[in-house]
Subunit: 393 residues, 2 copies
């Protein structure tokens, strides 16, 4: 803080400056609520709080359905460590999937639970589920009492390797994705691989596209590893998936910590490679296309566009498209095309401006000039997009 | 970021660490929207944005009423600097006062304006008004698009010297003060002293209590200066008020920057000296008692309690009470007492737990052991409060 004492008061300026250090851990484990596994206990104990911590869990309805004993396991775990953990209610069950983020009444319901159970800034709101539930619960935890401690327990590939390990939360509003949200790092992230065993095939696969994305812009070696393992991953090879998630999470977190803009104050957003068309495709299909599936299509599209704009060699595009197909993704979708079928859907084109508006400032789209290396452009050519979309169908 | 490469993946931990630097300026001026005054223009130009910035203003209805030409002045100013500033709509008028923070529909209305005018993260939402309007608009700006640039133009003593220069925003919910909110520093704060000329007597006075507060916990010399100027301040001496606001703002900002906890992750909250009873008094009087008036009573109460608990000498209490009375504050209020009239109001006593819950963790109340120096306690004695409240009536 500085100011000048010789200036009249009505011409003074006080310059405020400070830094906030953020720190959190992402743990990888199996059997998180097995009383023999102390990761959960020790993670919360790191808060240095004397006595019992109050915990309020919110659980994705699909996770609750597939793991009917989960509530009881959590209760037993908290009972086993009752000197430290106080479960203040049965877990709140929330209907999962992206549509949860469209329902503002879920925000109100969660706030009521937080108020009713007197959850304060030193208590914990914990979310178990896919990315949508984590985004929703994280948003509520971020604004109640100006921020309650939030622990994420992601249960999908997508949330374990990407959205769950980052610093964003949000809900949809005005039918626009993530229109409301904040940047608030979680208290901790606990990735239990056991949840992956019960994933639907679509959800097992969907999150892999974020690993392809981060590999394409950051590390060619990781992309070639994924391409090599693509059929194994598609066949639900668990060791391959564990490695994929770990490497992808690490890339995402390294990007956030070292890119100089963790809270996205600028216009550049490399981790949104392939996302501009994806966000709009999700929305115009009423979220029937899952985020990860839409990202696979968005990557395929922007890679094809990179070729047509002269940045990328065609064999690189073919490698990327082949990898995505080997992973089981469909790269064609009727909504990519206009109603006449011969050109890029004008609704998706409009998504470009929504994407710019959401990020703010100048339009900034990441393309590829080689595998493992992105390059940013500030305009997109509609004629070239028409050509790019033909490559996918 | 660190992790251990010799450990199996399902026992790995990735440790994320980064710091976010925050910086903003608080300018003091007269005639902010006089085209000859370039502070507004230059403040926004510091964003480095090429071309025009979109601006959406929200104005306190009371300010709009007292300054009927304000909208036109802003329009002319933006027109004079049209290469840099784009006023995208007439200012949105919002009924001011604490009750604005109870009305969630105002959040929705502001969001609609932000959406309709395509305000993005690099555009500006600017609030002109008292603390309640700044808190409300700041909250909306903080959650739309995960954070739009927010400029505060406080028009009251309270907001110019305290709430407007800090890092908090919020609205009331469940009839609890600031139940929803975030910690987000403003892009800039522009304190135009001219707005003070049209303040009602109550609002002129109310904000002075925050200066008394900060002086009592941080600087005896500042307290003695206020006590010395108390009658001048009560008589609307403008040079004295300008100095009071500047010194108080500087103390607040220095506290935020140097106390090691700008986003209030701990339980200690020295700047909330005198506030625990004040918050509840506001609420149980339906906000008829203004925040600053309630804080004056809260300070008087906690100073009296400090004497009864043996921390503070009685003459110091008498100095504080005399100073507050010279400023024109009333230190008695019927709601301080129980219905029978002989003891502390049990509703206010319940406010102690709400205060703890809002801050989180251990109850932490600042008391005084001498003028200019606070000391924290972790419990309050109801019998001593009964004695303290008698001192005020």
């Amino acid at each position: 803080m500085s100011s000048n004492t010789s200036t009249p008061i009505a011409a003074q300026t006080i310059h405020q400056e400070f830094s906030i250090p953020f720190s959190y851990k992402v743990h990888f484990t199996h059997g998180l609520f097995d009383p023999g596994n102390k990761i959960f206990l020790n993670t919360l104990r790191e808060d240095g709080h004397p006595g019992r911590r109050k915990l309020l869990f919110a659980v994705d309805s699909e996770v609750a359905r597939l793991h009917p004993a989960l509530g009881e396991q959590i209760a037993k775990y908290c009972q086993a460590y009752r000197d430290d953990l106080e479960l203040c209610a049965e877990p709140v069950t929330i209907t999962g999937g992206e549509v949860a983020k469209n329902r503002f009444e879920l925000v109100e319901e969660l706030l009521q639970q937080i108020d009713q159970h007197k959850i304060d800034r030193h208590s914990y709101v914990l979310a178990i589920g896919g990315g949508a539930i984590l985004d929703l619960v994280g948003f509520v935890a971020a604004i109640a009492h100006r921020g309650i401690r939030h622990v994420r327990i992601p249960t999908t590939v997508l949330s374990q390797n990407d959205s769950g390990v980052g610093v964003k939360n949000g809900i949809n509003y005005f039918n626009k994705k993530n229109y409301l949200g904040t940047f608030v790092p979680p208290f901790a992230v606990l990735n239990d691989f056991d949840f992956l065993n019960t994933l639907h095939e679509r959800d097992w696969r969907a999150g892999i596209s974020e690993a392809v994305k981060v590999a394409l812009i950051r590390e060619a070696g990781f992309f070639h590893w994924i391409a090599d393992k693509a059929r194994d991953l598609n066949q639900r090879d668990m060791p391959a998936m564990e490695e994929l998630i770990y490497r992808c999470a690490k890339h995402h977190m390294a990007h956030i910590a070292t890119n100089g803009d963790p809270f996205e104050l600028g216009s550049s957003r490399p981790l949104d490679f392939g996302h501009w068309a994806a966000h709009k495709l999700e929305q115009i299909t009423d979220y029937k296309v899952r985020h990860g599936e839409a990202v696979a299509i968005g990557i395929a599209l922007d890679v094809a566009y990179s070729v047509h704009t002269g940045l990328l060699e065609r064999p690189d595009m073919e490698n990327v498209h082949q990898c995505l197909r080997d992973l089981g993704f469909s790269l064609a979708h009727p909504k990519l095309l206009s109603e006449s079928g011969n050109g890029f859907n004008p609704l998706l084109w409009a998504g470009l401006e929504e994407f710019r508006e959401h990020l703010g400032g100048q339009l900034t789209i990441m393309l590829l000039d080689r595998i493992g290396h992105g390059v940013e452009v500030h305009e997109m050519d509609r004629d070239l997009l028409d050509l790019a979309v033909q490559e996918l169908n």
